[in-house]
């Protein structure tokens, strides 16, 4: 990796500092690093004045590094040697019409024509607008049957297609085809006037509004040397924790509902609402929209509102604990959670799981601790006591994070000084020919945005990577040899984003 440039989370650098390697070196370095505990944070292509380039950002321990290389027309697939590259490589192929040779499982990611008008590498014509129309992997055999679910699911859920190969009730293989939510975010962003960017970014995944806004704001702040006042940092950190609390609490309720244990589902459903209402106090919107902007936040809570937030957290903490006791001690819940949908540590590592799912399988990576932004330098890490990689662990990790997050939010609330701030000036400019990557840990796991600017300071490339981009593979693997009736439970235990993935 010595030919990769060490970089810092959220620190813009001139693009010319990024090393440009020959493809074979680029490939070898990536493979060597990912084989030795390195993980891909970003791996994508961009085009400028007709020249296309590949760029990779790798994390290893506490270090980030980046390098690029000229984009070849075709290249020996990296996925063939390391599975972590699978979706990244297919995404590059889909966006730029290039071919990773000998890719073990080459198929579209989001189902759209490539951006360069190059001949399609998947053999699709995109006349039919159905991402799910393609030859799924099939298990053959007399008693094998296939179950197809989606895109429109039974409940109020985002669309996606799931194809199960089953032997009786047992799932031998699950294939997940997404792309139904693809609204062209990455292509749209560089074409827009800057004033629209915060709104589009908040719309990448509504349940991660704060997470995405933070990644965006930090990138812009670094590219335009905006100073963020300390109270704004505190508010942003609290907002990210409230988002986590709302989602984790909601997930525990939904998991309980999926095993037909209704009381915790009802209680946690309501408690989730309490946190959304606290986001209203901070942001004026239940998902925190309109709060985080480059340069800070649009509003610092008044002392009365700070008191309201603290009182509410005090009030709900014992309730959350009591309901958790009810949930985790119920035999009917234990019987369904225990040992269900296990992804062992080796598998988690091999596919590069992040976030809750990664930690539940024993991968102790939390971007808040490894690449701290905002006020996370002061955070004492969360401890995890269940790492067996199944539904139980994924639920328990959430519970531990809820408790940790409540403490964190409470501590931070005590540090908000009185007095309002001027609201951030929306007319910022970006440094030309620069590069920045931002990494944060919203509730699902590692989220990263990457911005490249051109000679005029316009956005040349805006890349978003949702944690779900790593973790959907984890869900597919968790289902192997499970009962098909356990799919909803497993799905909920990962609770991945469709829109964040589909962009």
């Amino acid at each position: 990796m010595d030919n990769f440039l060490p970089i810092t989370n959220g620190c813009a650098i001139p693009r010319k500092e990024l090393p440009i390697l020959e493809f074979p070196h680029f490939r070898d370095s990536l493979l060597a690093s990912t084989a030795a505990n390195g993980n891909i944070v970003q791996f994508f292509g961009y085009e400028e004045n007709g020249t296309a380039t590949l760029l990779a950002v790798i994390r290893k321990g506490y270090d980030l590094s980046a390098a690029q290389c000229a984009m070849p027309k075709e290249f020996p697939s990296l996925t063939a040697e390391n599975w972590k590259f699978n979706l990244f490589e297919r995404e590059i192929a889909e966006q730029f019409g290039i071919r990773p040779l000998h890719h073990p499982w080459f198929k579209p990611v989001r189902y759209h024509a490539n951006w360069r008008g190059a001949p399609d590498v998947f053999g699709a014509d995109y006349q039919t607008d159905i991402p799910g129309l393609y030859d799924y992997f099939r298990v053959e055999g007399e008693h094998i049957h296939e179950v197809a679910v989606g895109p429109v699911h039974a409940g109020i859920i985002e669309p996606g297609h799931f194809r199960f190969q089953c032997f009786g009730e047992k799932v031998l293989h699950l294939e997940i085809q997404l792309g139904y939510q693809h609204r062209g975010v990455e292509r749209l962003l560089p074409t827009l006037p800057f004033k629209r960017l915060p709104i589009v970014v908040e719309g990448i995944a509504g349940d991660t509004t704060i997470g995405n806004s933070l990644c965006f704001a930090q990138a812009v702040e670094s590219l335009s040397s905006l100073k963020v006042p300390d109270p704004a940092r505190v508010v942003r950190t609290i907002a990210l924790e409230l988002e986590r609390l709302a989602c984790h609490v909601g997930d525990l309720g939904a998991l309980s509902g999926d095993v037909a244990f209704n009381p915790p589902a009802a209680y946690y459903g309501r408690l989730r609402g309490e946190f959304l209402n606290l986001l209203v106090v901070l942001a004026g919107n239940r998902f925190g929209k309109g709060l985080v902007r480059p340069g800070g936040v649009t509003k610092i809570p008044t002392p009365d509102n700070v008191a309201l937030l603290r009182d509410k957290i005090k009030e709900v903490r014992p309730e959350i604990i009591q309901v958790a006791d009810l949930l985790f001690s119920a035999h009917s819940v234990q019987a369904r959670f225990e040992g269900c949908g296990r992804v062992d540590r080796a598998t988690a590592e091999a596919v590069g799981l992040v976030g809750v799912a990664g930690r539940a399988s024993g991968l102790d990576y939390d971007a808040r601790e490894f690449f701290p932004t905002e006020k996370y330098k002061m955070m004492s890490p969360c401890s995890y006591n269940r790492k067996r990689g199944g539904v139980y662990s994924r639920a328990w990790v959430r519970y531990e994070e809820i408790c940790h997050s409540l403490n964190l939010a409470e501590d931070l609330l005590g540090t908000i000084p009185e007095g309002d701030l001027p609201f951030p000036d929306p007319n910022w400019r970006l440094a030309p020919d620069s590069f920045v990557v931002t990494v944060n840990e919203p509730w699902r796991g590692e989220l990263s945005h990457c911005l490249l600017t051109d000679a005029q300071g316009k956005i040349l490339r805006y890349k978003v990577k949702d944690p779900s981009f790593h973790n959907w593979t984890g869900l597919a693997l968790a289902l192997r040899n499970q009962e098909i009736s356990d799919f909803p439970l497993n799905n909920k235990s990962f609770n991945l984003s469709y829109c964040g993935f589909d962009l």
Binding site: R110, Y111, H112, D129, P131, P151, V152, G155, I156, I157, P159, G179, Y180, Q181, H182, R183, G184, V185, R187, L188, L192, K195, R196, I199, V200, E202, G203, A205, G206, D207, T209, P263, A266, Y267, G269, R270, G273, N277, V280, V281, L282, G284, N285, R286, F287, K289, G290, T298, K299, N305, E319, Q322, V323, D325, L326, F423, S497, Y498, C499, D502
Partner: protein
Amino acid sequence: MLKLIQTRLKQGYRTSAFPRKPINLHPSYRGRPEINRDCDPEVAARCAEACPQEAIDAEKRRIDLGRCVFCGLCQQLSEGRFIRFTTDFRLGVAERDQLLYQGSLPDLAAHSKQHFKKLFGRSLQLREVSAGGCNACEADTNVLNTPFFDLSRFGIQFVASPRHADGVFVTGPVPRNMKTALLDTYQAVPAPKVVIACGSCALSGGPFRGSDEIVPLETLLPVDLFIPGCPPHPLTILDALLKYFKG
């Protein structure tokens, strides 16, 4: 069992008395905006210029609530002198034109289609179609099923099969990749059927307007009920459903 009872006692009864009793949202909430029609034209022009959604017509002093994402920027810029958000969550309208808002909204109950009231007023089954968007609209629709809102006490349900539904409830800007699925779902609903568009995305493309990967909903289906917001508050949705079908 003991734990169950203890928790139940602690948690208590939480269903809201809405609509029998009014609900007050936190003063920070951005619901229906108030427009100062006598505002300095320069301030209005500045807001229109800065609005990320190009939702403001400065001359007519008008906001397109179909486009607006309630981001609050115009309120901040004008320091409340042009636009000021209230906590009023009642925002649903029955015609696209009524979204062009100059300070008051027509009575939704009076504008809804009378035959829908007759048919679905006592029992309404809806098939939700999530078509793009950010999933916040879906989340705040789903919330209506929690004990606090308890949608089913009004005879309204979200159902799994379009065959069991009286209409579709659409969220999101409709990605090209969801067009067929949406139309198929609509086809499968027996007539007469109602179409409800929920959220800025479904109303106008929302944040994603202009992307060539989306197909505007109004070019695909005849919308009967428009619910503005990004996302609309669960109470906005509930209020619109109750007024439109039961008002």
